[in-house]
């Protein structure tokens, strides 16, 4: 295997880690439910980039693409259901602020 292709892995990994940190920070710090979903989307993007990069480096781009397509389908379904849940919460509580959602508090 050529070093050129393997050389792609480290810079891409660095940016994948940083993209994951941005998404994770958004999910953990925000108090808005829609923004939390946007953070989750950024985490999905990081995983997509990881799969594509590994597929390119290992010369298994076709397999990586099949996995990415599966991931995109899962991503869409998760987002659709999550948006439905967020709208339900919003209509019940009149707010998207996580601090005002106390219905599930034990």
């Amino acid at each position: 295997m050529s070093n050129g292709v393997l050389g792609v892995l480290w810079p891409f990994s660095l940016f994948i880690i940083m993209l994951s940190v941005v998404g994770l920070y958004c999910v953990l710090v925000t108090r808005n439910l829609i923004r939390a979903l946007i953070g989750l989307e950024l985490l999905f993007k990081a995983v997509t980039l990881l799969l594509v990069t590994v597929g390119y480096v290992t010369y298994h781009a076709a397999l990586a693409q099949a996995l990415v397509i599966t991931l995109i389908v899962i991503e869409v379904v998760v987002m659709t259901v999550a948006v439905g849940v967020v709208l339900g919460i919003r209509s019940y509580n009149e707010s998207l602020d996580t601090r005002r959602i106390r219905n599930l508090k034990g």
């Binding site: 940016f15 940083m18 950024l42 993007k45 010369y59 259901v81």
Partner: protein, 162 residues
Amino acid sequence: MSVNIAILLSLLAASLWTVLTRSLLRSAIGLALTSAILTILMIRLDSSLAAVFELSVCTGLISVLFISTISLTHPLTRKEILAHMRERRARFWFLPFLLIALGVILSLLKIKPPIDLPAPEAVKEARNVLWSLRQVDVMGQIIVLLTGVFGVVILFKERVKK
């Protein structure tokens, strides 16, 4: 390689703007931009079919989903916006510095992962992989889609008035 680095930097900048911008609508647009930049990277990394999916589904459909959701919520009042801005600044100012520090530390480390590369794949077409090697994945996708459809139907079901 330098082109890839430039695209990666713009991807990170777009994602940072998505998280840091105050307006939710701008956030959704930033997410679409991040997705579009990721599509360019995917095309450069020989994943054209997945890139088309990413562009049509993630850039298009999910952005529409987010923008419709945002339009269904009511906007904040001026007083709420000012309070919200102050609070957000206190919580998010740390993120750019964290990223810069992380980037510097990781680029200094220059880890070379010990990878045993597998033999190159026999099937070169993503379509053939999906339909012949990964048939169970397709079944799983159908089940996940049906789960999503039923989930949304249940969530938006009209309540029967007694």
